[in-house]
Symmetry: C2
Subunit: 355 residues, 2 copies
Amino acid sequence: MILTRPILEINFENILENYQTLKKIAPKAQAAAVVKDNAYGLGADAVVRKLYNEGGCRNFFVAHGIEGEHIRSAAPEANIFVLQGIGDDSLKSFQNARLIPVISSPLMLEFWKAHRLPGIRPVINIETGLNRLGFRESDLARLSAEDKAEFGMMMSHLACGDEKGHFMNEHQLNNFIRLRNLYFPGLPASLSASDGTFLGADFQFDMVRLGAALYGINTAPYRENQMKNVVRLKAPVLQTADLPAGDFVGYSATYRATSSRRIAIVSIGYGDGIPRALSNVGKVFFPWRDELFEARIIGRISMDNIICDITEVPDVAVGETASLLDDFYTLDDMGRDSGTIGYEILTRLAQVRSV
Amino acid sequence: MILTRPILEINFENILENYQTLKKIAPKAQAAAVVKDNAYGLGADAVVRKLYNEGGCRNFFVAHGIEGEHIRSAAPEANIFVLQGIGDDSLKSFQNARLIPVISSPLMLEFWKAHRLPGIRPVINIETGLNRLGFRESDLARLSAEDKAEFGMMMSHLACGDEKGHFMNEHQLNNFIRLRNLYFPGLPASLSASDGTFLGADFQFDMVRLGAALYGINTAPYRENQMKNVVRLKAPVLQTADLPAGDFVGYSATYRATSSRRIAIVSIGYGDGIPRALSNVGKVFFPWRDELFEARIIGRISMDNIICDITEVPDVAVGETASLLDDFYTLDDMGRDSGTIGYEILTRLAQVRSV
């Protein structure tokens, strides 16, 4: 058997199970699914269908209006919230798909008031410490009673929700409660994404926005991951070869063999989303007969190929597949090894040419 | 005007012009266009149509059979070569679209002989020093005369073609010529991608495979770039705000303002392919009235947003767009600043949610 293409397996059952686990962790809050960035690279349509049809999920968050429009048919009766808000370039999507804007600035509120959608009450995003999008307190103080009555929910976003005990969490929580009491008493509220959900009931309010954890990322890294892995990425060995001592490998000849080695060329590269930063430091895996063999990546990763050292790995033949991501080496692991986070690895899986 | 989405502009005229410039640099060779990885992230269909219809290009290289099948309708009479070769998972594509496999190993040659396509003569890929895919000399020595007669072209690939004078270039060139004379005298030959094309006539043989340079990357970085920039990436300012001294910015609070600053939140992030490695080190640009203002990226880049310091930039308002990539800050520049190469930045542009 000769194979040439990478294989990305997405476990939708595990996404559903993660959703249900998270619901139990926040039993009093509504559990919204964050499916922005094409469900973080995994394909929004399929994720939304699964959670809508089998998980009963009725609240979804996307980043852009166009993303909301794309998922409307998969979730006909759901609330679809748009985090980057509404503007001239997305108004049509809001109208076509009855989307709910998250409004983060007084200017965007003016835009909303000029283009209100019947039956839709937007969300107001409030800045509590992240210093990203959101109404500052000075903006809130200038809102009229009519302005405040526009909104159906208030939200904010934590900066350090993945670090239990970080001073920013209490700081933002207190800010959020204070601003709610001052400006929006009684309005439904949402503070937390996946990470904040794990910080306990105080952080959960009326709605939690579940993104990264749905896809298996450990958003509470101070404890063992409670989420199931969702992603398996494999790629076929296209060729094996003997590498004589002294030979160079890959672009710019950054690796030189100090002894004779056996190498495999694996048909996947940074064009499939594998970070080039793993050149000469990452590894691929061969899970053979209950044993897990590691093969170090040698030389520079190229756009379509990875070269790895299989000297110590038995039985690697053309047609066998190497594992890049699996239960034993997760998005979080690859993120750490390439100097970033699992989230970025996840969104790059949209690049894999397996489909 | 309120805008919420990134804007990716691809200059197809410049791709065509780069193609024509490169043809002049290799006047005796056929100029093939490398459009693998969805034309390095820019969209293979549109690139192929442009080069086929207006550039007269009749030779295209893709990585995978499925990619070749996708572009067949855009280039009905062209030769479409598949670099990762032919296998059980791509045979249908070869049959449907009359693709030409690049065969890199004796095993793949056996597969070919069991599944020959009428009228198609494959390319043999020969290993000359990169130690990636290709027949080693020991493999060549075992080929029968009939085996050798299968092939319509031989190719190899340089490891250090972007470094003029690197010892590997002469080493690989000499290897290539020697192996050609020994095993495939007179067979049409292709050694060079864009970088090798710039190394001069000795490296150009019968066909050059033009990829990165078509898309504006400087594959001859020892001299000024002769290619035109092809990519402009912009994103709207969603919000501006005052940042008091002492405030933190972004996830994990990695930036703290030592004096009061003015910030802008720009609606693009690593979910659009901007490397998260640019957190706290990259910059965005505001080209105002013939002046170019830089705004440093502060805090961590998030999936959909970048926060930048606009204290020294006049007139930044909501609805204005910041430039991420342009003639004045290219793929190569962003590659360098994020610890990688322009090629990886380019392929990630497939993630931009502007379409």
